[in-house]
């Protein structure tokens, strides 16, 4: 029973952060039809920026709650700056190229972002455990768990609710929905698709960076730690359905819980299980489990 509870908790924590990262990836794919490998770069940059400034703030003796402002600030700054730069310099030249070539270009961007981190932040790992220590831990059903990772649920829910509200209740959201469903028709009725692309790409990048920034205090932020995240968030997005936020939520829950189950019961199956599910979903429903129905175009 206790083991079950631990698995559930671990799985949910893991799912929360996967969801935050994957939501950014899926929204970019949905609107722009770009599978953004550079997303891992946003994640790493978010983590490094947050870890660096949390360390600096604690040396200056700023209060611990300040770290949360830093996390939010780093995610916004990294996402908007990198998002604007990459959209302007790289993607804008390639919108009429083949999908596969655009994926490759973002792979190139990912490699560049990885090395810029080494050049700017150095090769030594960063630790920014202050917010985790400040919040302490709590006993739940006989197991101890740090409060910080539990706040991840809150952030994930906030992202889910926020993106739902954005997409269904605001003008921007309606425009985005229109572009997701039919880019050409959206252009014809006068929607500025190019500007929407910029906004979407930056929003997605902010989410990627937020995932990294929020996870930073719980891990050692070292070179190359984003490489795994890319394929895992790919798996989440593919399982849920590319371009669908509720899909990303379901996908993240599935992957998070499966991984926790594997880690605790059959550690040798960890990665294997996730990618087996991904293959199975692609084979049975290539559009993903919860992809919205589409009108067939001729």
């Amino acid at each position: 029973m206790q083991l079950l509870f631990t698995i559930l908790l671990d799985g949910l924590v893991y799912a929360s952060y996967l969801f935050i990262v994957a939501a950014g990836l899926t929204i970019i794919f949905g609107v722009m039809k770009i599978l953004n490998v550079a997303h891992g770069g946003f994640y790493a940059w978010g983590a490094y920026t947050a870890a660096y400034f949390i360390g600096a703030a604690s040396e200056m003796g700023l209060p611990d709650w300040f770290a949360f402002l830093i996390i939010a600030g780093s995610a916004l700054a990294v996402g908007i700056v990198l998002g604007l730069l990459i959209e302007r310099i790289v993607l804008r030249r390639l919108y009429d190229h083949e999908e596969i070539l655009i994926v490759l270009a973002t792979f190139g961007v990912f490699l560049i972002l990885e090395d810029l981190i080494l050049l700017i932040f150095g090769v030594n790992p960063y630790f920014a455990y202050q917010p985790m220590v400040a919040l302490g831990s709590v006993e739940m059903g006989g197991i101890f768990r740090d409060v910080y990772s539990l706040t991840l649920f809150g952030v994930a829910l906030l992202v889910a609710a926020g993106s739902w509200w954005m997409l269904t209740r605001t003008r921007w959201g309606k425009l985005i929905t229109a572009v997701i469903h039919d880019r050409e028709m959206a252009l014809i009725v006068g929607i500025n698709v190019r500007r929407l692309f910029v906004v979407t790409f930056c929003a997605g990048a902010v989410l990627g960076a937020l995932g990294g920034a929020y996870i930073a205090p719980t891990v050692s932020v070292a070179p190359g730690f984003a490489v795994d995240v890319i394929v895992l968030s790919f798996a989440v997005v593919v399982i849920g359905g590319m371009g669908s936020i509720p899909g990303a939520l379901i996908g993240a829950l599935l992957v998070g819980l499966l991984r926790a189950l594997a880690v605790h019961k059959l550690p040798e199956l960890e990665l294997f299980v996730i990618f087996l599910v991904m293959s199975a979903v692609l084979i049975v429903r290539p559009e993903g489990l919860f992809a919205p129905a589409k009108a067939r175009k001729i």
Binding site: L119, V123, V231, F272, I274
Partner: protein
């Protein structure tokens, strides 16, 4: 048939280039020969991706077959004590062909990004298995002992180098023959319009399946050669998604213009990486990534399109 092969100008050029390389190998320092071997091995896998890319398909998971080939070499030594060059290459290709044939039934139904993603998923399944299975070497992998040739264990790397060149030449010639056959000429037709190809009476699914198996065999042979050249196999350097990413990268860098292009591209990549790593150890990915972007922006035909500015090479296209 033999006449058709020998009169093909691309075949002649490839043979000439590779024979010159084998001769040069006798004089080059050991580290250059090593780099050339890695380049040629990777080039064979890239040749496999080229076969797919000409139809507009790109696999982000060819590390699957590259790794299967490499592990076939390592495990056939570990379990059966095989160390002969020809047997190792055959084992590598056989394992890759069997896997490619089986998975081909599924993959032939997919196109574009779905094809790429499903290949990626399959390769990561293999990675997941290898990393966590003690009997398969786990994260450490295996070391691969020196390759023998019919019982002869030569000193130095020159003989292995020449043997790898011979295999690459044979593979390049076979692929060139395939691309010039009716089945191979369907490649471009399928990319342009699948429905018309079906109306002509050909099965697109079957053509893609055959293409996929050929490409798996090439990547398997490549992995086998890599294992022999490197003397070591492990999941991170043979199967992980970054390995597949590198192969795709070289495909784009080399360009789809000719069967010789993958080998040129892969050797350049190997030296680009070595030098970039030496000059700027913390910035070699930056150099590699930047090169990729520049090629996508300004050189869509890859390095081969630069070579095609030479009139003699340009004429090969219409051959």
């Amino acid at each position: 048939m033999l006449h058709a092969i020998l009169s093909d100008k691309t075949v002649r050029l490839t043979a000439l280039a590779l024979l010159a390389l084998a001769a040069a190998g006798l004089m080059l320092p050991a580290w250059v020969v090593d780099n050339m071997m890695f380049g040629l091995a990777r080039g064979a896998a890239v040749l496999g991706l080229l076969v797919l890319w000409r139809t507009g398909l790109m696999s982000f998971g060819h590390g699957l077959y590259f790794g299967l080939g490499a592990y076939a070499v390592a495990l056939s030594e570990h379990w059966l004590g095989l160390s002969d060059f020809a047997l190792r290459i055959l084992a590598a290709m056989l394992v890759a062909v069997v896997a490619g044939f089986a998975l081909g039934f599924i993959l032939r139904r997919y196109r574009d990004i779905f094809f790429a993603m499903l290949s990626l998923a399959f390769s990561m399944v293999l990675y997941g298995i290898l990393v966590k299975t003690e009997a398969l070497g786990s994260t450490d992998g295996f070391s691969v002992s020196q390759t023998t040739f019919l019982g002869w264990a030569p000193e130095g790397k020159q003989v292995l180098f020449s043997a790898i060149i011979a295999v690459c030449l044979a593979l390049a010639v076979l692929v060139q023959m395939y691309l010039r056959s009716t089945l191979g000429r369907l490649t471009t037709a399928i990319r342009d319009n699948e429905i018309r190809v079906e109306y002509l009476g050909y099965s697109v699914a079957r053509a893609i399946h055959i293409k996929y198996v050929i490409s798996a065999a090439l990547a398997g042979a490549a992995g086998g050669m890599m294992a022999m050249a490197l003397g070591q196999v492990d999941p991170d350097s043979m199967v992980y998604w970054t390995v597949s990413g590198e192969l795709v990268f070289i495909t784009i860098m080399a360009g789809p213009g000719s069967v010789l292009a993958p080998f040129i591209g892969a050797i350049i990549f190997e030296f680009l990486r070595t030098y970039a790593f030496e000059i700027a150890p913390h910035a070699w990915q930056l150099i590699v990534g930047g090169t990729l972007l520049l090629i996508i922006f300004f050189l869509p035909g890859g390095i081969w399109s630069l070579l095609e500015r030479i009139p003699f090479i340009r004429r090969l296209r219409h051959d």
